[in-house]
Structure formats: structure tokens, C-alpha cells
Symmetry: C2
Subunit: 288 residues, 2 copies
Amino acid sequence: MSALTLSGTELAARLRADVTSRVAALCEAGRHTRVAIVTATADPSSAWYVQSIVKACSRVDIDCDVADLGPDATAAQIGSALRRLSADRGVQGIILQTPLPAGIDVTQAASDIDVSKDIDGANPLSLGRLMAGLPTFAPATAEAVMRLLDHYRVALTGQQAVIVGRSLVVGKPLAQLLLQRDATVTVAHSRTADLPSVTSRADVLIAAAGRTGLIGAGHVRPGASVVDVGTSVTKDGSLAGDVAPDVAEVAGALSPVPGGVGPVTTAVLLRHAVDAAESMAPRKGTLP
Amino acid sequence: MSALTLSGTELAARLRADVTSRVAALCEAGRHTRVAIVTATADPSSAWYVQSIVKACSRVDIDCDVADLGPDATAAQIGSALRRLSADRGVQGIILQTPLPAGIDVTQAASDIDVSKDIDGANPLSLGRLMAGLPTFAPATAEAVMRLLDHYRVALTGQQAVIVGRSLVVGKPLAQLLLQRDATVTVAHSRTADLPSVTSRADVLIAAAGRTGLIGAGHVRPGASVVDVGTSVTKDGSLAGDVAPDVAEVAGALSPVPGGVGPVTTAVLLRHAVDAAESMAPRKGTLP
């Protein structure tokens, strides 16, 4: 038996096509869609990620500026840049790239992103609105997991969902999204005792711990749907997930790395940007 | 075998004594501690609860104003009252009483409470800051459960915690607090399939569904610690929890209703008020 592959490429392409036509429609009405990425690190994998966003924006005709504040940026400088971009009507989406310089709390810093432009759901107000079920942008990765599950019609209501990992970009917001969909949700993490016994309960298992190969066949109930959110760079430069290859022999469905959640995440980010651009009222006194 | 009683009365008295001395110290420095309750309902049990807060404040020398906007109040009127109180330097704590008039979203309304005065953690920004682990006021009931567990030295790290109920005042914020303490956390609810099998995994079981007697002996692992957050008013006017009496024969520890989480919740609310008063800087130009 081999698991159904929960590929993200078709879904991502569909999302991008939708974004492209909406960006074009805005453009015809004289409105541009522009994203700004604020970065303050010399981390090479961060630089690689930023370039991938820039390229993805370019493919769907979204303008993308990178404000590189350098690895010595202070919290005040980052806050100032985010507030300036939040006030800039020419920018509809803002991404604060991590890591930040040592000692700067990402979530505290993200408090300066206007929630209407917070397309990666990093502001604590966005997270709280998500918890409360109010309209808001969810972190793109967490939303991408939901969209991937829905694309393959994986049942959620009344199902046991287990998330391994409690980050603010995946685990915690994803728990809120799964609860909204009436799943019974467990969040496990590095301090969980007897992880295999916890993950084996899952009808839907989300691996988001960032530890290569953490989840093996012994962690998975036969037939379960497994989504791999892990993206560690291995010694040979390739991308590895949290799920070991032998899981494919046990799971009913499994998302690959790369080609699973990753492309959907990028497409969700683009979609949030055009959502933000559409919901921003045209400036008074200008033509629509 | 009968369960250890997780009484809240001693803990509540200890918290109140601490609040009383801190309020007195502020008062000696010429600073008053004042709470405002905004209410917009004719619901009698709400009126009873508001009066219990007023009395509790009075016992610890905290001033308490009730702004009763009446059951026909609009969202605009409630927002205006909350913004006025948020700007009023004479008020350090604000409570928005529920229920609100039909059609008004509590969390949306609570967005107008300044987070530094949001002593019941109702503003979505407070909830998001809680999720992010930033300093903030947690909803008093959720914090009371944690304080009760800590008072009786119930182990949490690596333990299986199961919360029944996903409200914004208990279930969801409590999940965040338990995750911060390294418990493996499951949130179950009305759509959970086979609830007894889920709750039976719990080392620590929190019943917060608001359904009288929902949790019976068959839901509880022998020796588990059970906290009953339910407070339904029965036909004869007494207070009933979510936990049936037979659970005492199975659980290792059990909080009673009344006399468990309830008194601790009120004491936590008072403590938050004095926390807020202490952290508010004296007005410039006045004596400290």
C-alpha cells in the first residue's frame, strides 16, 4: 500500500491563476498591488526565501519591494519601517521576514504591521482575531495546510487532528483553524511524553516541528492523512520534511516535501495581498 | 476512594489578602484603584454576577462603577463607553459584561477596551498576545484554572491535558496557558466524536462546556485531576457544574462547584485590577 500524494502544485497553480486575474482587474481600474518585505538578517536561507517571494510576486504581476534593514537593525528601526509601510497607501501587503536580530521579539515587532496589510498574520491582533473567529489574515502556512486538506476533501468535522509543533506561524494558529472546522485538536511538542501514542490517535496528523524525519511509520495510524510542514535544509542542500519516507507505507495520504504545503503557502500569501488590495478603498478624489 | 477536593476558597482568600495590601499601598501613595463594568442586558443572572463583582471589589477597597447601558444599547454606544473609559485615567480596569444585545459580537466590541485595562482578557489583542506569550491579561477564568492547579501542585509538564469546551473565555485561552506550561493539550467540544475516549486520556481534565453533568465517571481516567469550570443555574436556583457527582469516586482530585474555580476567578479579576493600577504611571505633575 502506498499513500495518496497530497501534492500542492495543482492547488497552488489554481490559486495563482485566480490572483493573476484579480491583480489584472485591479490594474485595469488603475490600482496597483504592492507587497513590501522587511528583512533584517544576513541569514542565507532567509535571503533565498525572500527572493522566492519576489519571484512569485513577479509571476502574478504583484509589485514587491524589499526593505533590507541589515543584520544590525534595532527594534526601533524595524518598528519605524513597519509603521511607515502601514501608513503608505501604495503598499497593500507587509511581510516581516525572520529571523530578526538577537533580542528582538518577532511578535512584538509585528505589532507595528497594520492588520489590514498583515498578509502573513504575524501581528498578535491578527492572531487574536483568528482565535475569536473574526475576519483576519491567518499565517499563510497554517492556512495553506487547511487549503491542502480541503483540496483533497479530507474530512475534519469530529475527526481527531494532532499537530506536532506549537509555533506561532503553524501549530498554534492551525489549532484555531482546525477547531473552527469542528475537529478535536491536540497540540503536541518537544515536551510531549510518548509522542507515538499521541500521534497514533490522529485521523489527520500535521507535522510542524521542524525536525527532519521526526515522524516515522510507528507514529502514524494506518490510513491517516499526514501533512508535512517541515522544511529543513539537509547537508546536500535539498529540502527535507518532518516525515520519514516509511510513513508513505502506512498513511492513507501524505503531502510531499518539497511540492506539498510549500507552494500553497506562497500562493496563499499572494492571495492575501490581492485580498488586501481589493479591500482597500480607492483614495478619495482619484478615479476608481 | 474519594477524590482530593480542589477547593478554591483558601487560594482566593490568599489572593484577596495580597490585593488588599497592594490597594492600600497605592492608596497611601494617593492612587486609587477603580474598575468599571459595562453592562447592556436585562439578564437576571448577569445582574447577579455584576453585583458579586461589585461586592468583591468593595471587600478589597477597589472602587467599582457600573455603567448600565440597558438592553437596547447599540454597538456604537457600547464602543463609545469603552473608549471613554479606556481614556479615563481614573479607571484602571474595564470589564465588558455579557450577554450583549443580539447581533453585537462580544470580541469585536471588546476591541475598544485598552489592553492595559483589559482585566478579563476580552480584547482580541489580549488573546493574541496571550497566544504569542507576550505580557497581557488572560481571561480571569482561564487563569484561575491554572492558579488552582498550581496551588495543589498538579503536574503539567509533559502531561495530557484535555479541555472540554472551546469558548473564548475558558477553553481557547486555557489551551494557550497549558501549552506554555508544556502540557500536551487537546481541545474537545460538542462535535467531538466519542468524548469518553478522548477525556479518558487526560491526566488533567478541564470541564468547561457549560452542560450540567456532561462529564461522568466513565469519562475520567482513575486518578486524574479534574477541574470543573461549569456554572449552570439549576431549577432550584443552586449552582451546578459540568461534572457529575460519581466522578469523585474515580478522579484523584476534583474541584467543587461552587467553591472551586469560581472564587479564584473573582480574586484573579481583582488582582488584575491592582496589577493594572500599579503599572499605570502616576500622572505627570502630580505627587507620586
